[in-house]
C-alpha cells in the first residue's frame, strides 16, 4: 500500500521538477515522501500582496486516496496568514482538504486552491472561534472535524463532535 503513495508522489515530484510550479508557488523541500514544504504568494492586487507563507504537506501511505495533512507553518519565524479560514496555529479549514478531497487533486492543485482562497479574501480577520480552537486543537489538522456550511466555513473542533 505504501508504494502507491510513493509512486504517485514521485510522479508529482518529477512533474514539478520538469515543468515547474505555477507562478507564486515554489517548492521548498521534498526530501522524502512524507513531508513536503511549499511557499505560496498571492500575485496581483490582494490583501496579502507581497506576503509569502509556507505550507507544510504531510502524506500517509494511502495518498492520493486519502487527503494530505496541510497547514501553514508557524514555527521558526513563519506566520500564518490572517484569514477567516486560517487559524493562528496554521490549520486551514478548506473543503478540498476534507470531505471534498479527490484523488484527482494534487499537491500543486491544493496550493493553487489555497492561493485563490487567500486572494479572494475580503477582510483580514481570524476565524470567530480561533482562540477556543487553538487552545485544544489536535496536532494533525486531519483529526479536526471541520464543519463546512454553505456560506462560511465554520470549523467545529473535534472535541465538540458527538
Amino acid at each position: 500500500m505504501a508504494s502507491i503513495s510513493v509512486r504517485r508522489l514521485s510522479k508529482e515530484l518529477t512533474e514539478i521538477k520538469s515543468e515547474g510550479c505555477p507562478v507564486g508557488i515554489t517548492l521548498v523541500k521534498a526530501d522524502d515522501f512524507s513531508t513536503w514544504w511549499f511557499t505560496i504568494e498571492v500575485m496581483g492586487e490582494s490583501l496579502y500582496q507581497g506576503e509569502k507563507y509556507t505550507l507544510q504537506f504531510r502524506f500517509d501511505s494511502s495518498y492520493p486516496i486519502s487527503s494530505p495533512a496541510v497547514q501553514f507553518v508557524v514555527t521558526d519565524g513563519h506566520t500564518s496568514p490572517i484569514h477567516p479560514h486560517v487559524y493562528s496555529n496554521g490549520h486551514i479549514c478548506a473543503s478540498i482538504l476534507g470531505n471534498e478531497w479527490s484523488p484527482v487533486l494534487s499537491v500543486v492543485a491544493v496550493c493553487v486552491t489555497l492561493q485563490s482562497m487567500l486572494a479572494s479574501c475580503k477582510k483580514k480577520e481570524r476565524p470567530a472561534d480561533n482562540d477556543r480552537y487553538v487552545r485544544s486543537a489536535p496536532e494533525n489538522p486531519k483529526k479536526t472535524r471541520f464543519h463546512y456550511d454553505g456560506k462560511a466555513l465554520s470549523p467545529i473542533p473535534h472535541q465538540y463532535w458527538i
Binding site: S3, R7, R8, K11, I65, S102
Partner: protein, 488 residues
C-alpha cells in the same frame, strides 16, 4: 493483469498520450474501467481503492459504487496494452522493448536476464538465463575437457573452441559471483553450443511464438465472447419458443419428411380437400395463395428448428373425418395463449379470411357434419411440434367456422319461419280489420238509411257514408232495423 504493481513501474519508451493516464496513479491505465454514469476512466485498482475511501467519482464527485463500473472501451484497453515499454531488466542490461502486453511473456520465456533454476535440475542454484546455458556440472563433462580450468581461466587456454571466446569473456565477467560461490562451473570445451549462438537462434523464434500466442489468445477471447453472445441469443430463442423448443431426432428427418406433406395431406377427407390444399402448404401455419402449391421446404427457413415433423414422427397422418373428434374433446378452450399469438403471424390470421370461401363446399360435402351444439375447442396440442400444434389449432378454427356457419343457417331458417308466420298474422289482422270496417260501414249505412228514410233522402248507392246536412243523429235513437247484407 496480475502484475498491476509491477505495471506501474514500467518505463514507457515514448511519452504516453495524456488521455491514457489514470488521474489517480498518474501512470497509463492498468486494467481500465469506466464509470457508467459519468464516463470517467481509471485503473480498476485505483478506483476501487478510491471508492472504498469515498463513494464518489474522483473527477466530478458524482455518486459511484463498484457496480457502476464497467470494463473500459476495448479501444482504450488496446491503446494502453500496446504502449511500448522497456524490459524491467534494463538496468541489468536487457535492451529489449516491446508492447506492454507482451512484456510478461518476454520475462517468462525470453528475457536473458531472468532468473532460472539449474537447467539440469541437479542443484538448487538460480542464475540468469543467459548464464544457465553454460551451466554444467563437473560430472557431465567429457574426458578431454579436463584440460579446461576454472571458468575465468578456461577461455584463455582453450584451443578447441574458438567460438567460445567472444561469448565467454562477457559471460564469465558477470558470472564470477556464481562460479566463485559454488562448485566450479566449467565451460564445456567440446560443446558446440555458445551462448550467443543460442540467443541468435532462440530469440527470434521465441519472439515469434510469443506473438502468435498472444494473437491466439486474443482470438480465443473473441471467440469466447462470441460464444457467450450466441448462448445468450439461444437462451432468448428458447424462452420465446417455450414448450416447442425441442431438439429433434434429426434435422434431416424433419426436413426430409416435410416433402411428404403434400402426399400425406391428400389423405385428408375428401370434403376437406379444398381446405387441405392450403393445409399442405401451411407447414409453418402459413396459408399460400389458393391453388398454388409451392414446395413445402420453402417455408422451412423461418422456422429452422430441428423438429420431428408431426406427420412423420409423432401423429399419424390425417385419417378419415371421424378422427377429427380428438380435436374436439370436452375441454375448455385454451383461449388467449400468448405464445400462440406470438408465433401466429399475420399470415395465420389471413388464413381465416381464406377459409371463408373454402367453407362453402366444406359443409355439404363433408360427411362429418358439425354437431347441432357449438363444438368445443381442443386445447393446444403441446405434445407435438409447432406445426402440429398450429395445425391442430387450425382444425379447431375450421370446426368453429363450420359451426358458426351452420348456426347462421339455422338463424336464417328461423327468421324465415318467423317472417312467414308474422306475415300470415298480419294478413289475418288486416282481414279482420277490414271486416270490422265493413261492419261499421254497414251500420252507419243502416242508420243513415233510417235517418234518410224519415227525411226522404236515399243512401248513397256507393255505400259511402255521407253526412246529412241539418241532421243531428245524436238526438235520435238509433236502432238497426234489419240485418245488413254487408255484415260479416
Amino acid at each position: 493483469m496480475s502484475h498491476n504493481l509491477d505495471m506501474s513501474l514500467y518505463n514507457y519508451v515514448d511519452v504516453p498520450n495524456s488521455n491514457l493516464i489514470c488521474c489517480i496513479c498518474r501512470t497509463p491505465f492498468t486494467d481500465p474501467v469506466t464509470t457508467r454514469a459519468c464516463a470517467h476512466t481509471f485503473c480498476k485498482d485505483c478506483i476501487l481503492r478510491a471508492i472504498e475511501h469515498s463513494a464518489q467519482c474522483p473527477v466530478d464527485r458524482s455518486p459511484l459504487g463498484p457496480g457502476n463500473l464497467a470494463a473500459a472501451n476495448p479501444i482504450v484497453r488496446s491503446l494502453v496494452d500496446e504502449l511500448v515499454v522497456e524490459c524491467v531488466h534494463r538496468a541489468e542490461g536487457c535492451m529489449f522493448t516491446c508492447q506492454r502486453q507482451l512484456l510478461p511473456a518476454h520475462l517468462l520465456d525470453s528475457c536473458t536476464y531472468r532468473e532460472v533454476p539449474c537447467p539440469q535440475g541437479k542443484c538448487e542454484e538460480t542464475m540468469l538465463f543467459k548464464d544457465s546455458i553454460l551451466h554444467v556440472h563437473k560430472e557431465d563433462l567429457e574426458v578431454d575437457s579436463v584440460k579446461i580450468q576454472d571458468a575465468p581461466v578456461a577461455p584463455a587456454t582453450d584451443e578447441q573452441t574458438p567460438s567460445h571466446r567472444p561469448a565467454s569473456p562477457s559471460s564469465t565477467s558477470t558470472d564470477e559471483s556464481h562460479e566463485n560461490n559454488s562448485s566450479p562451473h566449467i565451460e564445456v570445451a567440446s560443446s558446440s553450443i555458445s551462448s550467443s549462438a543460442i540467443h541468435e537462434t532462440l530469440d527470434p523464434r521465441v519472439a515469434t511464438l510469443t506473438e502468435q500466442n498472444i494473437l491466439l489468445r486474443y482470438r480465443v477471447d473473441t471467440l469466447e465472447s462470441l460464444l457467450h453472445s450466441f448462448k445468450h441469443e439461444l437462451g432468448a430463442v428458447k424462452r420465446a419458443l417455450g414448450p416447442w423448443f425441442r431438439v429433434g431426432e434429426g434435422l434431416e428427418a424433419g426436413f426430409a419428411s416435410s416433402r411428404d406433406v403434400g402426399r400425406i395431406s391428400t389423405e385428408l377427407p375428401v370434403g376437406a380437400q379444398p381446405a387441405s390444399a392450403s393445409t399442405s402448404t401451411s407447414t409453418a401455419g402459413v396459408v399460400s395463395v389458393e391453388g398454388a402449391l409451392p414446395p413445402p421446404l420453402e417455408y422451412q427457413p423461418p422456422y429452422a428448428y430441428a423438429y420431428p415433423f408431426p406427420y412423420s414422427n409423432t401423429a399419424p397422418p390425417m385419417p378419415p373425418a371421424d378422427s377429427l373428434a380428438p380435436y374436439f374433446p370436452a375441454e375448455l378452450e385454451d383461449g388467449a395463449h400468448p405464445l400462440r399469438r406470438q408465433v401466429r403471424t399475420h399470415r395465420a390470421s389471413s388464413s381465416m379470411e381464406f377459409m371463408g370461401p373454402h367453407l362453402q363446399p366444406y359443409d355439404p360435402h363433408n360427411p362429418f357434419s358439425p354437431p347441432p351444439h357449438a363444438p368445443l375447442v381442443a386445447p393446444l396440442n403441446l405434445g407435438t411440434t409447432l406445426e402440429g400444434t398450429l395445425h391442430g389449432l387450425r382444425e379447431s378454427v375450421v370446426g368453429l367456422a363450420a359451426s358458426v356457419d351452420s348456426m347462421g343457417r339455422r338463424h336464417e331458417i328461423a327468421l324465415t319461419n318467423e317472417t312467414t308466420r308474422m306475415a300470415e298474422e298480419v294478413g289475418g289482422l288486416r282481414a279482420g280489420l277490414h271486416g270490422l270496417r265493413m261492419q261499421i260501414h254497414a251500420i252507419m249505412m243502416d242508420r243513415n238509411a233510417q235517418l234518410t228514410g224519415r227525411d226522404g233522402m236515399g243512401d248513397n248507392m256507393n255505400g259511402q257514408w255521407m253526412p246529412l246536412a241539418g241532421v243531428q243523429p245524436a238526438t235520435r235513437p238509433f236502432y238497426p232495423q234489419q240485418p245488413s247484407i254487408t255484415k260479416l
